[in-house]
């Protein structure tokens, strides 16, 4: 390691962490699992004055049942979340998406909060939070607030998080037992960020789609919630759907870009097919939690 010089602090409480962040006046960076940050520090692409290690704050770790949902502590390691019984039982889409994050080695240190807070637009966990309707709990010395995941992301690696703020929890709302899981990802190699991906959940009751949450990843500057498709699906009977035209609608909810791995046109083309296939499969197979 040959980073630019920084002060290292390891607060023992959220309050202490928030005080440090506040006093640093924008010069602090929070380190959770370090799987993205440490290479960036080494290459000096990131040069904070203070590195705030939140690894010693017990409240930030673990998965808990809360009223109406599940609260995931941001310091929860990805490997631990993958094994977690609560998540497996209640949020299968989350677990499915998580299994595509990085590799065994990086998941041993990488955290849920790190992935959610980084805001990589082609990553799985931000899109999962958006699709499932999660709320991000944020603390600072100014107080605590909750932001819907959909409103949390502003652009690539840009979120509403202020420099003095810390993500203290991600709260995923309950999805009823038996809901359908949607997850598809195309990445050039396993563990890579997606060229195109989609994640979400569907609830069918009484032969009608009663609830739906879907989001793209790798299809725009942030996770792209499929708002119009969600509205269109709401209350419909699965066998009455025109998946082709829905897929066009879904793609029009995205804002894909050109990069050197794929063109926007590729993402639109393949995204449409992915939508048709994954929604079709989910409905046909009744793939359940």
């Amino acid at each position: 390691m040959k980073p630019a010089p920084f002060d290292y602090v390891r607060p023992a409480s959220i309050d202490e962490a928030c005080t440090i962040l506040s006093e640093a006046g924008g010069g602090a960076t929070v380190i959770a699992g370090g799987q993205t940050l440490v290479p960036l520090l080494n290459l000096r692409m990131s040069q904070p004055f203070v590195l705030v290690d939140i690894g010693a704050i017990p409240e930030l770790r673990g998965v808990d049942r809360v009223v109406g949902g599940i609260r995931v502590g941001p310091m929860t390691r990805q490997a631990d979340a993958l094994e977690d019984q609560l998540l497996a039982q209640h949020l299968p889409a989350f677990v499915r998406a998580l299994s595509h994050v990085g590799h065994h080695q990086t998941r041993n240190r990488g955290t849920i909060g790190g992935s959610v807070a980084l805001g990589e637009p082609a990553a799985e966990m931000p899109a999962t939070a958006v699709a499932l309707g999660a709320e991000i709990e944020i603390a600072s010395i100014r107080g605590t607030r909750r932001v819907p995941a959909e409103a949390f992301y502003l652009g690539p690696y840009m979120t509403v998080l202020e420099p003095d703020e810390l993500v203290t929890g991600i709260i995923y709302p309950d999805w009823p037992q038996g809901h359908l899981v949607v997850f598809q990802e195309l990445a050039q190699r396993p563990g890579d960020f997606a060229l195109v991906g989609m994640v979400g959940a569907l609830v069918i009751e009484g032969g009608l789609i009663q609830r739906v949450g879907l989001s793209w990843f790798g299809m725009g500057p942030t996770p792209m919630k499929m708002r119009r498709v969600e509205a269109e699906l709401q209350g419909k009977a699965p066998d009455a759907l025109d998946l082709k035209s829905l897929s066009r609608l879904a793609v029009s909810d995205a804002a894909p870009f050109d990069d050197h791995h794929a063109s926007a046109e590729y993402r639109r083309t393949v995204g449409g097919r992915m939508f048709t296939r994954s929604i079709g499969d989910a409905l046909a197979l009744g793939e359940v939690a």
Binding site: M1, K2, P3, A4, P5, P39, N42, L43, R44, L186, Q188, R189, P190, G191, D192, F193, L195, D258, H260, H261, A262, S263, A264, E265, Y266, T269, V270, R273, M274, R277
Partner: protein, 918 residues
């Protein structure tokens, strides 16, 4: 799967080690983290280096401000090009020729690529050095960047004092009349175009050096490299120091691929700074530097035309090849080997080409595992296209054109003698191993379900084990001794880059000496022990090092026989060595451990035969034939998802003939590694530059190397036709990276054939580019942004040396100059593929149009006669012996005191000649 043909042992033992899949001696150390790489070496008083690098691709440095950085605690020194010039260094190519354009370790006046080192900081730690770098200010006057080959063709030269951006050129601009006719008049004329992306070498171990001056003229370098001996030689020449003054150590190396053939800018800066500053200096490249500032490779484009008759037999061919040399290549290069080997394994009657390398404001070009691999890629993909066009099976079209053993000896259209190649035989073995009929049936059924399977084959030959053909390529040395304990140690001039030469060389020695493999230890990696050897370059160590180890061991076994025969009053022929025990035929009671005999050899001179040299040592420097050819045919099966453009490799079979296989595991490891890189080049890897010349894949997030999940389990068929070398080995280090790309591309093209041809092969075949073919529209966006990417027509090429020199203003002077005799000395430069060769040519005319004369260069002098002078045009032939027997046909135009023209050099094509009266 492997069919072993063991060659008879010339040695003594019953236990055979050559051909065995023994565990590698290196593995326990390397796999438990106990390897010693350059960065692991720590010396007392060592300081660290970091570089301030150019952030623009092309510009003039107007100001360098280092005073703030110099104040930083822990900073010991800051050097710019000006300070570093106190230790002069002549940077040379891979061929040991000084660079055509001046190269200094640090940029002086001009920066020529993003990442060009401008200032170096020496500090207590690397982190402090980088802190200081961030405090250095460099101002530039920005010049317009020349990034692509098309840019280079159109733009003014980037290097001052040059006339064009042509770094190197060879061949004929126009195909001659009869070739043009053969092409146009043929039954079928096919053209294949390939645009090969730029590749990052990406070794696991990045570049690193630790240089320490240990006396006024004593330098020790720890440097990750391809041969400590070659580096010592290069550095001694570059610094003008005796080679004995320089010790180079590189115990373990994590891959080189061609990148580490010579030290380059950063390493040279560290060497010079260590000479000046006097304390040990270390620089270890980080991954960002490695991806953006290490020499890169491959970027080239080629258009190949080939004519076939109605039976699918090759008639004639022509090609235009252009490669991007970057600003400071490790030798200006037009990649002549592409043309030498393009048709060498095929019955191709006529071929001509133009080959050019271009300077651009990008990172310099270095060799990379099969640097000429474009030839196999473009030929084999063209042949499959031809097969589809003519309705011939891809196997069949190769059967009709490949040079089989029964067709040999033969001489290729480029003059390469071909007398022991087996690409056709490898293909037959491969075909016997794969049920084509069943596959075609499965393919047809799959297509009905909209699943697209494809099979691809390719065949090739490859030059390996090069020695004596160029100054840097020599033989290899084995020094083997039986220690007084009976254990065997060997010092080899070979060098492992991870190939496991400590294993394979030990196998050769154990086999021929009759000792246990475990009892043999091989040392390499230090220029102060062992003799000179070029090391790991050009698939040569198994061939030449193996041959040296075998012969030295046989010589040593003979010595043991003589001694044992004397001690036991037996005949040398009755002595054998088996598993470290010396036996006398018919007298089992006389069997003795080798150690007992060795102890006598060292410690009891009275018991030695008269004239017997004490000790048990032997050495042999093996100078093999100049080139040993390896052949192979590969096959792979893919499934292409036509919804997403993703390619899945289902099966891959390698049928290679690398002669005697020393260790199947090592051979298969070499092939697998090359194939992994091939898969990367075809599907994943690309180092893109933006229009401003910024390399845009700065981390492994964007530069996609093949992972284990992208590489299938390969199947191997070994043909084992011994070569003419000692031991019968053929090189195998590069082959996978050469034959892999066409094999995979052909399989993809076969899968996609219902949709159309890959008209222009643009690598990598990303999912988006696959969809371009499937959907026959521009999904990838490549067409829109690169419509001009085709090879520029030859006629549009920048004019250069062929153009007449400036005319004197006064025409009377002109005619007077013409009338002047050409007699006397001329300073000329011949632009050969290995670099420019200066020489003095002395002409003597006889007044009747006859010309004779003398060529003099550093290598010696040679006379010629029988030349003709006609209206200022001088033509003559020069027969040379080095680097090989060849007739050079000179055709020069003399105008006043200026001479220009070309020299036809047989298989090397045509080279430009320029010069003036001495």
């Amino acid at each position: 799967m492997s069919e072993q043909t063991l060659i008879p042992s010339a040695g003594s033992g019953a236990a055979r080690w050559i051909g065995k899949r023994v565990e590698r001696k290196e593995d326990a150390r390397l796999l438990t983290g106990r390897g010693q790489y350059t960065d692991d070496v720590v010396l007392p008083g060592m300081l660290h280096v970091a570089f301030a690098r150019s952030t623009i691709a092309h510009g003039r440095i107007t100001r360098v401000e280092t005073s703030v950085a110099a104040e930083l605690p822990g900073v010991h020194a800051i050097y710019t090009a000006r300070e570093l010039a106190a230790q002069p260094i002549t940077m040379m190519s891979f061929f040991f020729t000084p660079s055509e354009v001046p190269i200094t370790p640090l940029a002086g006046e001009l920066v020529q690529y993003v990442g060009d080192p401008v200032v170096m900081v020496i500090a207590e730690t690397r982190a402090i050095a980088e802190d200081a770098v961030s405090l250095i200010e460099i101002d530039y006057e920005e010049l317009s960047p020349v990034v692509t080959i098309a840019d280079a063709m159109a733009a003014a030269p980037i290097h001052p004092g040059t006339e064009t951006n042509v770094a190197s050129e060879i061949g004929d601009e126009e195909p001659e009349e009869d070739l043009a006719q053969a092409l146009q008049g043929a039954h079928c004329l096919l053209t294949q175009e390939v645009v090969h992306q730029r590749i990052s070498q990406a070794p696991m171990e990045n570049r690193a050096i630790l240089a320490t001056r240990e006396g006024p003229e004593e330098l020790t370098l720890y440097i990750t490299c391809q041969s400590p001996h070659n580096i010592a030689r290069w550095v001694s020449l570059a610094l003008g120091l005796p080679q004995t003054a320089i010790r180079v150590i590189a115990k373990d190396v994590g891959g080189s691929f061609g990148l580490k053939n010579t030290p380059w800018k950063e390493e040279c800066a560290v060497i010079c700074a260590a000479m000046l500053f006097g304390r040990p200096l270390k620089w270890t490249e980080d991954r960002y530097e490695a991806l953006t500032a290490s020499n890169q490779c491959r970027e080239a484009q080629m258009r190949l035309s080939a004519a076939l008759d109605a039976n699918g037999r090759l008639v004639a061919s022509h090609a235009v090849y252009d490669c991007n040399n970057g600003a400071y290549p490790q030798g200006a290069d037009n990649n002549i080997a592409v043309h030498m080997f393009l048709w060498a394994a095929y019955k191709m009657p006529a071929y001509a080409f133009l080959s050019r390398g271009w300077y651009t404001n990008t990172n310099g070009l270095a060799a990379y595992r099969g640097p000429w691999a474009m030839e196999s890629l473009i030929r084999e993909t063209l042949l499959d296209k031809a097969a589809r066009r003519l309705g011939i099976d891809p196997v069949e079209i190769r059967r009709r054109n490949l040079v089989y053993l029964k067709d040999q000896p033969a001489v290729s259209c480029m003059g390469i003698p071909v007398d022991d190649i087996t690409p056709g035989e490898c293909l037959e073995k491969l075909v016997a191993h794969f049920d084509f009929a069943a596959f075609r049936k499965e393919q047809a059924q799959a297509r009905e379900q909209s699943r697209y399977l494809g099979v691809g084959i390719a065949a090739y030959i490859e030059p390996t084990g090069s020695a004596g053909s160029m100054v840097t390529m020599t033989g290899e040395l084995a020094q083997v001794r039986i220690e007084p304990t009976g254990r065997v140690t060997a010092m080899m001039s070979t060098h492992s880059q991870g190939h496991g030469t400590a294993t394979t060389m030990a196998q050769c020695i154990a086999d021929r000496l009759g000792v246990a493999y475990d009892d043999v230890t091989v040392f390499e990696g230090d220029s102060s022990r062992g003799g000179f050897g070029p090391g790991a370059a050009g698939s040569r160590q198994g061939v030449i090092g193996g041959g040296a180890a075998i012969r030295a061991s046989e010589m040593l076994a003979d010595k043991v026989r003589v001694l044992a025969a004397h001690l036991f009053n037996a005949s040398p022929e009755s002595v054998s060595i088996e598993d470290g025990i010396v036996h006398i035929a018919g007298a089992p009671e006389m069997s003795r451990p080798l150690g007992e005999i060795a102890n006598i050899a060292y410690a009891e001179p009275d018991r030695l035969p008269p004239g017997f040299e004490a000790g048990l040592e032997a050495q042999f420097r093996y100078q093999p034939p100049p080139m040993t050819l390896t052949s192979a045919a590969h096959l792979c099966v893919v499934e292409v998802d036509t919804d997403t453009g993703f390619v899945k490799i289902l099966r891959w079979i390698s049928s290679e003939d690398c002669g005697t296989v020393i260790n199947p595991g090592v051979v298969e490891g070499q092939i697998s590694g090359g194939l992994a890189q091939a898969i990367g080049m075809v599907l994943l890897e690309e180092m893109p530059y933006d229009a401003r010349g910024n390399p845009t894949a700065a981390t492994f997030k964007d530069y996609l190397l093949p992972a284990i999940s992208d590489v299938p389990v390969f199947e191997f068929i070994h043909a084992n036709t011994p070569s003419k070398t000692i031991g019968g080995m053929r090189g195998v280090g590069e082959g996978g990276a050469i034959i892999g790309p066409p094999t995979l591309v052909n399989a993809i093209a076969d899968a996609l054939s219902p949709f159309g041809e890959i008209e222009k092969l643009v690598l990598p075949l990303t999912p988006a580019r696959i969809l371009d073919i499937v959907e026959q529209r521009d999904v990838s966006g490549f067409g829109a942004s690169h419509s001009e990417m085709a090879t520029a027509p030859v006629a549009d090429a920048v004019q250069e040396p062929e153009a007449p020199p400036p005319m004197p203003e006064n025409s009377q002077e002109q005619s007077a100059a013409e009338a002047r005799s050409i007699d006397g000395d001329w300073n000329m430069v011949l632009k050969t593929p290995m670099g420019p060769q200066p020489m003095v040519v002395t002409f003597a005319t006889d007044g009747a149009g006859g010309v004779s004369g003398m060529f003099s260069s550093a290598e010696g002098s040679q006379a010629f006669d029988g030349g003709r002078l006609d209206a200022g045009r001088v033509r003559f032939d020069l027969k040379v012996e080095k680097p090989m027997k060849i007739t050079l046909k000179y055709d020069l135009l003399i105008e006043g005191d200026i001479v220009s023209g070309k020299c036809k050099m047989g298989m090397f094509g045509s080279a430009k000649v320029t010069g003036q009266r001495a």
